[in-house]
């Protein structure tokens, strides 16, 4: 099984690569090549930084978005988005201006706003992953989060896990062969590695 890990300049690429290997992946290709994406059995889109910068970085790779869309939407290839890679699944993001997302999971990425000043932003640290709409990859547990913007899903049926930081936040969205997680499985020790291993075994 080959896994295409999309290399578009996101800083956490190597951590995700290491974690996928630790979780049992045989072949993980760091790639910006649409042909490699088209051949892959699994696609992973990492992401740290701002929504717009990640979106621009991804769009700058010729043919990669089209290759991902064809694999995922036409052939049902399992797809995992992590952190900003998950947020990019939305229709749009509102970080530093409004930017268009992939539009694969309806919703908008908005700033986390809390009236209570004791609720610190960024939402940084370990927090609960609480199952919402049942999904085979989601188990209850604790994972590492690090974000100031959150996925506001248009259809609650796509929300497969939530967390709580002075109010509920989406922790994971899913639709067909697509799953996106706001937390960092590559930094979530045992919980994260077991999540990745379920993704590697997933037959959506």
């Amino acid at each position: 099984m080959s896994i295409a890990l999309i290399d578009y300049g996101a800083g956490n690429l190597h951590s995700v690569h290491n974690a996928l290997v630790k979780a049992g992946a045989q072949t993980v290709e760091l790639t910006a090549d649409p042909d490699v994406v088209a051949r892959a059995d699994r696609i992973v889109l990492p992401g740290v930084g701002s929504f717009g910068a990640c979106r621009d970085g991804l769009a700058a790779l010729p043919g990669v978005i089209d290759a991902m869309a064809e694999a995922v939407q036409a052939r049902g290839v399992p797809f995992l988005g992590i952190c900003v890679g998950m947020q990019l699944l939305a229709d749009a993001g509102e970080e530093f201006g409004r930017h268009q997302g992939l539009g694969w999971v309806p919703g908008t990425v908005r700033k986390i706003e809390r009236a209570d000043p004791a609720i610190k932003i960024p939402h940084m640290g370990w927090n609960s992953v609480t199952p919402a709409t049942p999904h085979p990859l989601i188990e209850e547990g604790e994972a590492y989060f690090l974000h100031s913007y959150h996925f506001d899903a248009a259809d609650p049926a796509h929300v497969v896990a939530t967390t709580d930081h002075g109010g509920p936040l989406v922790a994971a969205v899913a639709r067909d062969s697509i799953i996106g997680v706001q937390f960092h499985p590559e930094k979530s020790q045992r919980y994260g590695l077991s999540f990745l291993s379920r993704f590697l075994d997933w037959k959506p």
């Binding site: 740290v48 940084m124 640290g125 930094k187």
Partner: protein, 261 residues
């Protein structure tokens, strides 16, 4: 339940070797930071901090290798501080596998470096250090703290609270507040300092400097309003485990991670 309070062990590293670290006999190479990082990963530390105190410029690359090797075997967030002077320095560490970089003295002489790094890599990956000492109270008798550099030896004349607010405003995603008076004393954090800063900024604050007991960790959160507590020697010398730190915080009603079984 909200986000859990983090317990962060900090390892001092010089020339790629642990200077102040775990004194465990079972380690094959107790001087290897990666061996120690693995222990803390297995023990359920919420994050790990490497503080690079390498003095010579030539040996600065050694921390990159430590970070790269750590990222291959540890699946926990890692912050690296010490000697980060530019966005390029930050980039090298982030590419090697660091999740966050901490900027100390460079943020005193040139606070804009915080904005440079935040703009390029996002606020989430930049921790700004606030190294402060108590100075004479103001005319009304209110406590005052000033930023010190060079391990607490050199005064800068910069007010610590104003500096902290500026760093947060420039885009730091987190502040590491260290009492240079308390560091190494085991008398506990400077709670008034930690609280004054934590209450003045919207980003999380890590309390640091002076931990000698588990109660100090509890005070850092309860009275200091810190989101995370950093300590070195109480963990390294086997005085307390990460699990005991979590248990002490939990016993005080502070949300922490579920113990690893």
């Amino acid at each position: 339940m909200t986000v859990r309070t983090r317990v962060i062990p900090c390892l001092d590293v010089a020339n790629g070797r642990v200077v102040k670290g775990v004194n465990f006999v079972e380690l094959r190479d107790a001087g290897d930071p990666v061996e120690q990082a693995k222990l803390y990963d297995a023990a359920g530390a919420d994050e790990l901090c490497f503080l690079d105190i390498t003095a010579s410029h030539e040996a600065r690359g050694t921390i990159i290798d430590v970070v790269r090797r750590t990222a291959e075997v540890c699946f926990m967030p890692v912050t690296v501080g010490g000697g980060v002077r530019s966005a390029e320095d930050a980039r090298a560490l982030l590419l090697a596998g660091a999740d966050k970089v901490a900027v100390n003295s460079a943020a005193v002489s040139r606070p804009e470096v915080v904005a440079d790094i935040a703009d390029r890599f996002g606020s989430q990956c930049i921790v700004a250090s606030v190294d402060a000492r108590r100075v004479e109270p103001d005319a009304q008798g209110n406590p005052r703290w000033e930023i010190f550099t060079h391990g607490g030896r050199r005064a800068t004349g910069i007010d610590a609270l104003e500096h902290a607010a500026r760093l947060a405003q420039l885009g730091a995603g987190e502040l590491l507040v260290t009492s240079m008076d308390g560091d190494g004393t085991k008398r506990g954090y400077d709670l008034a300092l930690t609280r004054a800063i934590a209450d003045a900024v919207t980003v999380p604050v890590i309390a640091s400097g002076g931990v000698g007991t588990l109660d100090h960790l509890v005070e850092g959160v309860r009275q200091g309003h810190a989101s995370a507590v950093l300590a070195a020697s109480i963990f390294h010398f086997g005085q307390h485990s990460i699990g005991e730190a979590h248990a002490a915080l939990a016993a005080a009603g502070i949300p922490v991670r579920t113990p690893i079984l």
